[in-house]
Symmetry: C2
């Protein structure tokens, strides 16, 4: 029997420890091909490269634990998935996994997430896909506690398939938060970022800004991803790319739009 | 009475004719402040600048028809909104309008859209917001047929407010498609892009790609944005940033995730 074909990508770049750990885990489940950005792409949202050229090259990052085939790409995570599907893979992958992101993509972070944009890009193409993120921004984060849960989630997705128009957003507690208590299927918590711009002067006297901010949770529900993670669970949010606010169609339809 | 404060932005850059036309229209409705990218940002999705510095400067692009205050920003559309809200405006705007984009953001294009990411960024902050797009990619597109409809939509949004967690994605037929028949509130059509990569060789012999593709409509419904536009109407899709696929929560909850 053909082993499942697993496309692995991320937004932290092809050398990121989170990606290397995901490759190592996926090698136990199927035939792995990696197509990942050559440099970090965090915060890229669902960006694609339309006014610039794209490069891709075959690379070997880790002879022992790497995948049989790995490619770096000059573009964004969404570009990587498009390029993999059209130019690199010779058949449709059975699943696309993205991550493991260094940092949370729970709650409103999903909107800004390059990790999730790769998963969504695959979902648009009708391929089961999952974004994995660890709630630890450190480059040297410990991923060793995540193996059994990630394997279980990917195996279930391979066995059962994904509801139409859905991808999974998986967020996982950091290793020093204690033993993982289990896995919960959740909704996206309502939240936003309270931005703060750090205003500085360049050596030549020009004003510039760094974007910083604080996460502000606006949701006290116990069925949210943030609540699950804070309680020691892995959260799975089924995530869609039909952005229609169906509940609002009637409301807007009542506006006076067609009378003169 | 205080005139409404209107923040105008886009993703085609501060000199784009579509933005200039939107400013010209908004000047009739309220006090306009422009904070827009200094260069085109198409396809940027919901990208934000987190690993780089941001610059902003006050500019005058068009003395006669411009806004009283205009700022260019080195970042993405989402950056522009964040910077405007935190650093430039002295009160919360009554509405944020983004566009007029040179090209359609109907259907799945909303996912890749910088125009809509600006609107969504404002929506996350609880501010009514609307992205406007013309289904004409030309830089010299004719925007002159759009005024009454845009004014009507913005005025209704100012008067009636927006359903919670919702922003509007407005797409408009090009001028040579005949007289606009009216405005329809729609759902996002299911579609994807059939990508094609145009593979070329650089002067030094290095392989590179251009991303191209064809829009593929997968949806025959008569309640979609694409159907409305093709029938000569302006489409409004109420658009949300809670990406939870609520219908899929039960499905995924039935997976064997917590047994060992």
């Amino acid at each position: 029997m053909l082993k499942p074909l697993i496309l692995v990508t991320n937004d932290d770049g092809i050398t990121a420890p989170g990606l290397r750990h995901l490759i190592y885990l996926m090698n136990t489940l199927g035939e792995v091909v990696v197509v990942a950005p050559e440099s970090p792409q965090s915060g890229m949202g669902h960006a694609i490269t339309i006014d610039n050229t794209l490069y891709s090259k075959k690379v070997v990052i880790d002879k022992e634990k790497g995948a049989p085939a790995e490619y770096s790409c000059s573009g964004t995570p969404a570009d990587c998935v498009k390029l993999a599907l059209q130019e690199i893979l010779d058949r449709k992958p059975d699943i696309v996994v993205s991550g493991i992101n260094h940092g949370s993509n729970s709650s409103i972070n999903v909107i800004y997430s390059g990790t999730m944009s790769a998963a969504i890009e695959a979902g648009i193409e009708g391929i089961p896909s999952i974004g994995f993120s660890l709630c630890d921004y450190s480059w040297n984060a410990d991923f060793s506690h995540l193996g059994p849960s990630i394997i279980k989630i990917v195996q279930e997705a391979l066995d059962k398939g994904m509801p139409k128009g859905t991808v999974l957003n998986v967020n996982m507690p950091k290793s020093d938060a204690g033993e993982i208590k289990g896995i919960r299927v959740c909704r996206q918590a309502r939240a936003n970022w309270k931005e703060k711009f750090d205003k500085r002067l360049s050596p030549s006297g020009k004003e510039y800004y760094w974007l910083t901010g604080e996460f502000e949770l606006l949701d006290k529900g116990d069925d949210t991803d943030v609540h699950a993670i804070d309680s020691g669970y892995i959260s799975i949010v089924p995530t869609q790319f039909d952005l229609t606010a169906y509940h609002a169609i009637q409301h807007i339809s009542n506006w006076n739009l067609n009378e003169s």
